[in-house]
């Protein structure tokens, strides 16, 4: 096939591309994947029975704010990594901000209780249950993002996969707040962070396979 044949074949299919097309595709993927995850939380796990009461307390929003902050970080990074000319990625250090805030709150919580209770606070029974649920719930959103990237051009595949994993994990963790009744900062900084970190790591591993073009 000559170049001219190829070019005229390609020019036969020129659909208009709106401004901010990459952002729109990613937003659509988040809505669709998020809807699946939300359905899994509502119909699979069940909404916490005391939700109406919980939304009046600050701890519910603090937990949701923590995970939503990671989602914002993931989105900022992913939008940059969707372009092939992403040389210098900016705002990476932003992920440290929510961790720092939650670490302070955890310190306050630990200072208020006897040291003998710390171990139970950190580990507790079934400490992997919550992170693995967050990881599983992130799968539909991650799948949506992989679909969105079929028209995008990441050149740093492990990083793009990690950002997609972080975004998917953080959105999943935010929706998971509708089910999980735990409000302890130590619980959140261990379980929720681990769940999102697992999603990020898995995304980095899968990125080069799934996002290659």
């Amino acid at each position: 096939m000559t170049h001219d044949d190829l070019i005229s074949a390609l020019a036969r299919d020129v659909r208009p591309v709106p401004r901010h097309a990459a952002g729109r595709r990613i937003a659509l993927a988040l809505v669709l994947g998020g809807a699946v995850t939300l359905a899994l939380v509502v119909f699979g796990l069940g909404v916490r029975p005391d939700l109406a009461l919980a939304v009046r307390g600050s701890m519910f929003w603090m937990k949701g704010g923590y995970t939503a902050a990671f989602a914002a970080c993931g989105l900022i990074l992913l939008l940059q990594l969707a372009r092939p000319d992403a040389e210098r990625i900016r705002w990476t250090a932003l992920v440290l901000a929510p961790i720092a805030v939650m670490a302070v709150l955890s310190g306050v919580e630990m200072a208020r209780m006897p040291a003998s209770g710390w171990h139970a606070l950190w580990m507790g029974p079934m400490w992997l249950y919550c992170p693995l649920l967050v990881l599983s719930l992130s799968a539909p959103i991650f799948a949506g993002l992989v679909w969105a990237f079929r028209r995008l051009a990441p050149s740093r595949l492990p990083a793009a996969g990690a950002a997609a994993g972080l975004l998917a994990g953080a959105v999943a963790a935010t929706l998971y707040c509708l089910f999980c009744q735990q409000v302890s900062p130590v619980y959140i900084i261990t379980r929720y962070t681990l769940g999102m970190a697992l999603a990020t790591g898995l995304g980095a591993l899968l990125g080069p396979r799934l996002l290659r073009w």
Partner: protein
């Protein structure tokens, strides 16, 4: 004749708006640029290079959504080409030195159209809108003060003051960077 950044970008944007002719013109102009880009960096046969050119043209076509109209087109285009070249070598299990995008743009003769403008855009983005716009109009686009005033619908003295203030705070910022 060799296409310039401005010409390529204009074709790209018209193509993004659905203009098939402009899109075909863009791809036609890119083919020799890509061919030269790969030939300069690879010792493969002509067939391999032409295959890679076509691969890259297809990628530029199917991944158009990832181009941001406010950015430099040649930087985006050569990044796609660089990715395709690295992917080609990866498939052949050979290693290539990773080349920075700025080096590519310099080597391919797009330095002035891209590198400098990126810096200017970064700097101007920090100024208030009016100052950035008047500086861009008079110092980059080449309009006169009178024309710039008409474009922004402000008085000529307002244009002059805006340029003066803008340049002053840019100078202060750059000297501050160096210190």
């Amino acid at each position: 004749m060799r296409a310039t950044e401005d010409q390529l970008k204009a074709w790209m944007i018209r193509g993004l708006d659905g203009d098939a002719k402009a899109h075909a013109a863009l791809l036609g102009a890119l083919a020799p640029l890509l061919s030269a880009f790969f030939r300069r960096r690879m010792h493969d046969g002509q067939d391999d290079i032409e295959d890679l050119v076509q691969d890259t043209l297809i990628a530029i076509h199917t991944r158009r959504d990832s181009y941001d109209r406010d950015r430099v087109f040649s930087a985006w285009m050569y990044s796609v080409a660089r990715y395709k070249m690295i992917d080609h070598f990866r498939a052949a299990r050979r290693h290539v030195p990773f080349e920075g995008l700025e080096d590519i743009l310099v080597a391919e003769g797009f330095e002035s159209a891209s590198n400098a403008r990126m810096d200017v855009d970064v700097l101007l983005a920090e100024l208030p809108d009016k100052q950035a716009r008047t500086i861009r109009d008079t110092k980059i686009a080449g309009f006169s003060v009178t024309e710039a005033a008409a474009r922004s619908e402000i008085s000529e003295s307002d244009v002059k003051v805006s340029i003066h203030r803008g340049l002053k705070s840019l100078a202060a910022r750059m000297l501050g960077d160096r210190r």
